[in-house]
């Protein structure tokens, strides 16, 4: 009896102590790599860079929010959607307008992802990552280009990886432009001219040059802009497509020499990507029965601008058909003609944007499914900088630098591709510097409409204000077109800049004061 008691005691003790007194207090997350083991190879840096690129295709960025924001703020776009979009387009936003808020967070996120690559790369002795660092610098510069234009140059100065407690200072006037130029200059030195066919879509030297030119232009520094633009044009790396439309057809990436920088969406990718991605990219001139609405529509001014002259053959400017869906379209929108839309939808505007619309994907779904759109299988690429834009910028720089005659030539290159007469033919004479300045405003609209460039243009021209509500005269033809009436609400002293998001000011008082008027 006694023996068995002690045996069982012993047994219990042995079980008790041995069972699992070996729990390990060091546990490593089995689901992820950790920072300690990362950033050690060239491949790691490449993946980090792709991580930064990845953000470009999110819904808060080029998959929707940016073009939505920029279109509504320009004189070519408007909205049929009440609330924040309407308030943005009519300059009646309050501090909480989501479009004002989102842009800040999105571009600073892109900056943060990029600095993971830049800062770790510059402190690393791994060879062969200079180009990768250069690409990341371009992404930072692209972010600042947008942020300065939106929020002014008193934004947060970020030039490295941020920790939780970092509260970056407010940049001095002009400082952000200089910093952006520096980043691009450094990038230009290390970026390749082109990539292999499997790496197509990465940032090239030409892209950095183009962005640097835009940075100079935006500061009205036409001398510096002219220099770099002539270098870019002279490189012969880029040329116009023979066909204007082919820039905007599905997945035309192969051999498109006109593209300088674009966002490469995954065509027919997984639902959670393409779903989000084209949320704002299925616009119509009015609400329809199958669940497509009119978040972004084109203004009448945009439409009228195409109608001031015909092409060489006496037809309507062929660019209209690709740029805007309207009464003049021979195309269909989601399988329906303009006549159908007019009689079946509540038309908000006489035209809607067409270039980057997910027309084909939507149509496929309507044909396949329940008769309503299900937000998937999109993924049309989106061009951010193309050669025609560069040619027109060069013309603008030349004109501003007093080389008006020479400027005509570059405008004519762009016009010729669209089967339009030379400017001199249309106008009956060469235009003066002042006339050409106005004509370029028109030329840029009809060439680049719906490419969310216009807002930058208006800012550069010093036109971003209530005067946009006034009529516009096209110098070459003498047409007078009513411009965007929503600008009549423009609050001078306030709407020039977005407000810095309230939460950001709460967390980082270094950014005070708030932008004027807010």
């Amino acid at each position: 009896m006694n023996k068995s008691i002690y045996k069982s005691i012993l047994l219990i003790l042995v079980i008790g102590i041995l069972t699992f007194s070996c729990t390990d207090l060091t546990q490593v997350n089995p689901n992820f790599e950790t920072e300690e083991s990362f950033w050690e190879t060239k491949e790691d840096f490449y993946q980090g860079l792709i991580g930064a690129y990845d953000f470009l295709q999110t819904g808060d960025m080029y998959a929707g929010q940016i073009q939505h924001t920029l279109n509504l703020l320009s004189d070519e776009g408007f909205t049929g959607q009440l609330g924040d979009p309407y308030n943005l387009a009519t300059f009646s936003s309050d501090l909480n307008n989501e479009f004002h808020v989102t842009l800040w967070y999105s571009f600073y996120t892109l900056i943060a992802r990029s600095y993971q690559v830049i800062e770790r790369g510059e402190n690393s002795d791994i060879s062969g990552i200079d180009g990768i660092i250069g690409e990341a610098k371009f992404l930072v510069a692209l972010s600042y280009y947008n942020l300065i234009t939106a929020y002014g140059d008193g934004i947060a100065f970020v030039d490295g990886i941020q920790s939780a407690s970092d509260k970056p200072r407010k940049a001095q006037p002009g400082e952000m432009w200089v910093f952006t130029e520096t980043l691009l200059t450094e990038a230009i030195m290390v970026l390749p001219k082109a990539y292999s066919s499997t790496e197509f879509g990465r940032i090239t030297k030409g892209a950095a040059q183009a962005l640097l030119a835009k940075v100079h232009m935006q500061q009205n520094d036409y001398d510096a802009a002219e220099l770099i633009l002539s270098e870019l044009i002279g490189s012969g790396q880029y040329k116009l497509n023979a066909n204007y439309e082919s820039n905007f057809t599905e997945e035309l990436t192969t051999g498109n020499k006109e593209v300088i920088f674009q966002i490469n969406f995954l065509h027919n990718g997984p639902q959670q990507e393409s779903d989000y991605n084209w949320f704002f990219r299925i616009n119509s001139p009015g609400e329809s029965s199958f669940g497509i609405w009119s978040d972004q529509v084109a203004t009448n001014f945009a439409l009228e601008s195409y109608l001031v002259e015909t092409d060489k053959d006496g037809n309507i400017d062929p660019r209209l058909n690709m740029s805007l869906f309207s009464n003049y379209s021979d195309k269909t929108l989601y399988g329906q003609t303009w006549e159908w839309w007019e009689s079946n939808a509540n038309i908000v505007s006489e035209a809607s944007f067409y270039k980057f619309n997910e027309n084909v994907a939507v149509l496929n779904e309507l044909n396949n499914g329940s008769g309503s759109v299900q937000w998937k299988n999109g993924g049309k690429d989106m061009i951010i900088i193309r050669y025609a834009d560069i040619l027109l910028l060069y013309a603008e720089a030349l004109n501003e630098n007093g080389k008006t005659l020479e400027a005509h030539n570059y405008i004519n290159i762009v016009r010729a591709r669209a089967n339009m007469n030379n400017l001199e033919v249309t106008a009956g004479a060469t235009l003066s510097q002042a006339e050409l300045r106005e004509q370029i405003k028109h030329e840029r609209l009809v060439e680049l409409c719906g490419e969310f460039i216009r807002w930058f243009d208006l800012k550069r021209w010093g036109e971003y204000g209530p005067q946009i509500a006034n009529d516009f005269t096209v110098p070459a033809t003498g047409n007078i077109i009513a411009r965007d009436q929503s600008f009549s609400n423009f609050r001078n002293g306030q709407d020039e800049l977005f407000p810095i998001p309230l939460d950001e000011l709460d967390l980082n008082p270094n950014l005070l004061p708030q932008n004027p008027g807010w």
Binding site: S8, I9, I12, L13, I15, I17, F20, T23, Q27, P30, F32, E33, E35, E36, F38, D44, Q47, I50, G51, A52, D54, D60, L82, Y86, D94, N96, V101, Y105, Y108, I111, A112, Q116, Q162, A164, D166, F200, G201, E251, L266, H267, G269, P270, Q271, Q272, E273, E287, G291, S370, S372, V373, Q374, K376, G379, D503, E504, D506, L507, Q514, G517, W518
Partner: protein
Amino acid sequence: MKIYQKATLVILFGMFCSVKANAQYTINGKVTDESQEVLPGANIKVKGTSSGTATNREGLFQLNVMSLSDTLIVSYLGFQTQEIPINGRTSIDIIMPVSSISGEEVVVVGYGSQRKKDLTGAVGIVEMEELAKSLSTNVTDRLQGRIPGVTVSKTGEPGSLGDITIRGVSFFGDNNPLFVIDGIPTEDSPNINPTDIESIQILKDASSSAIYGSRAANGVVVITTKKGNADKMSVSFESQAGIQQFSKKLDVVNTAEFARIHNAAYDNAGLPRRNWSDDLTRGVDTDWQKAVFDDAASFRENNISISSGSEKSKVYLNLNNTDQNGTINKTRFQRVGVRLNTEFDLNDKIIVGQNLAVSKTRQIGQQYLDGQGVIYNTLMMFPTIPVYDPTTISGYGHGSIDDAETYQFNPVGVREMFNSYQDHTKIMGNIFTDVQLLKNLEYKFNFGADIDMGAARNFQRGGQIRTEIPHLSGLEENSAEDLMLVIENRLTYSNSINNHQFSVMATHTEQQFDFKQNGISINGGFDSDDPFFQISSTTASPENISTYGNQQTSTIRSFLGRLTYNFSDKYLLTANVRRDGSSKFPEKNRWGTFPSVSAGWNINEESFFNVPFITRLKLRAGYGVVGNASIGNYAYQTLIASSSAGGTNYNLGYGDRSVIGAIRENLVNDDLKWETLKETNLGLDLVMFDGKLEFIGDYYFGDLEDLLVAAPVPGTTGEGIGGTTIINVATMERSGWEFLVVFRELKKSIKYDITANLFHTENKVTSLPLGNLFGEYSITTVGSPIGQIYTLGYQGIYKEAAELNEYTVINRIPYIGDAKYQDANEDGNISEGDDRVIVGDPNPDLEYGLNLNAYWKNFELSVFFQGVHGRDIFNGVRYDMDTSPLTTYSGVYDPYIDGSGSDPRPTADFGSPNNIASSLYVEDGSYLRLKNLRVGYKVPWNNIGELTLFAVGQNLLTFTGYSGMDPEFESGILAPGVDDGGGFPNVRIYNLGLNFSF
């Protein structure tokens, strides 16, 4: 050893007697209380047998026994159970002492137990009989209002578990206490059958909870399940059924009133009216609450328990099933559970035993869409929209931009097109052994496991049930497994030398938590009307399918000890220390030490003390340091997330080539450590008039340090909108008082007891180095408790033209009827950035519970009230309704239209200052609620068994000035005062039941 011999003798004697058949003796007697009042219905049993009886109306009994050496066990509610050896007598008068005054009850305090009168900390002892009257299906909800200092916030959703906070919300992350069930610590709220619970003790203060160290700062709830009854076999069967309904319908406008306001809103904004508001000839006037709510949802619960045992073995077996339908159709909670607890004395030195509970639950849930529940949509939907509309794609009424622009889902459509359920199979159990190693040295070994296998499924038919936006068909399946193992080795040495009693306990324990889950979802791509199908490669094309999964492990290793010392029952001392190592923290901060000490003085034991009406008087004082860790596993590790298409990736190349990318997953702090609470507790226990009046009071104060805060970080960190990082930065003070008073009258023919508890908790943030924390309409700032309501100050509407230029919202010209706000910084302009002020405090001044039990003859009545006083609520539902043209309006909204009305003008202009959150929506959230009313009748069937019939009502009456659906709601920690309408209001229940035991 002696006891053992005696018991053996009794058993042997009993066996001998039974051989000598029919040799019976009759015993007569009377049972009274100490004041000679008779006690009818007192139970008398013969120890070790199944024979017994009960007293009649005169308190008399007669009982046959086999031997005059037997022992009688006499029990009566509210009195101490007595063991009376017959000692050869045939006539025995028994006097029952009131139970509450003895203090001999043993209370489980974690890694051991103490006599109630030896307690030195603040330990709340739950009256299980009261808890058993509640109709809540889980134990956490039943605790509401029962123990001072314990707050339960809960909803009426079937199967949901209420959140318990002990002594207020003190942490920015996890505020749930640690639950310890039969020695197994578990961090989740326990979803165990309340019927199985023998006792619950709540360790409230740091000096008593410190034995649980790093996880104790939110208090510890120690639950012990039932053991078998050593005396005789008993079977108890309880069954009840009833109906439930929401206790309130929210007052919202009908179509006529809606149209009046809605039209004015569009007129005021200069926008065209919406067709269905402008033209009411369609005659639609939908009462959405009527369409969605079920006023007679059924509730059923059955329990059968068998308890049996002998001197050497005890067995408890329970079988339970619960079936509760929700007051929204298609929500439901079902549970089937079984428990088996056994204990065996192998010999006089070794006890082995086991507890095992297996249950299966299914919670059919409130379906969520875009984060909004059915209830929110029900409240917000326009009355101009019909429930069903055959002209729409899916047949459910919804608006369009021109007719009725609202983006709420048709809630009936949600209910009928969306389905989700969650199953859990839970196995919780332990095996243990107690070994008497030496005379005073006991070894205990405990090995426990808690396994939870979960499976969830959500599915929906594709279609369209709201303005403009169709939804996809979808299906998601998820399975998860939680496995927790714990091992414990405990040595306890106890001895008494003269008047010095002491014990020393030392324990080693380790715990490991493993979690894994995986899931698959399909979004779109199938048209089937029948949602019941399996995921397979033929159901959907690959680009619509996504899968996910992860696994986690965490571990804790601990060493702990306790010393108790008792001198003559006068002076008491308890000291605890625990050292915990946790895998949640980086190596440099991995180990923490948590000490505590407390002392008590039983003044009534002193010879100088001679106050006749004071039966017991004890002073207590304690101090302790305890920890908390409201963070996930691996929180200190910076992770790199990389994935291909569908996640972090980018498309490169002429073809479509998804390239894998990598990003920093989280912004972490690699210096994370424990949060700590350092608390002093002072207590007083007082029993007067031989137990008629009992008082327990506690006062406490202390500091919370190194609080983990999910601190918002600037957007410049790259964390995006609402990005945060967790960091040990904040400090807080906490103090409060709580008391419990019991008054008992057990000596009259109507017997009753009244228990009242009242408490106040005060938390104040003392340091927030990273700046204020913001929740929905709320701010947490230094000098105030967590989550003050923070909006513009509303000052009525502009009534006269002369007032119009007093203050203006920047760039807005006010009109008569517009909202006027306080210019807090007196700069002449109103803006949300500069002029928000604290407009309400959601922390109650007082919380209380009041319970009455009364017994008269065979009737028993129990009434339980619970309430809070002095607390503000931001009525987010009313705010959403009355400030947007995209939702309906509340019935209390009286907008300024055509020269009359006292609330701000309606406007469809989203930028209008009238639509800004302000103190207009802050309401008094005090309430008093009749939580439970129960009437029972004990059928006089004394010789066969006991049958009680009862009727119970829950949440029958609510007294409150709050205009929302329910002043009780669950909320976010940083916005505790904001009722955002996402929750499921508490329900009223009417039940009938019976309890039969023999």
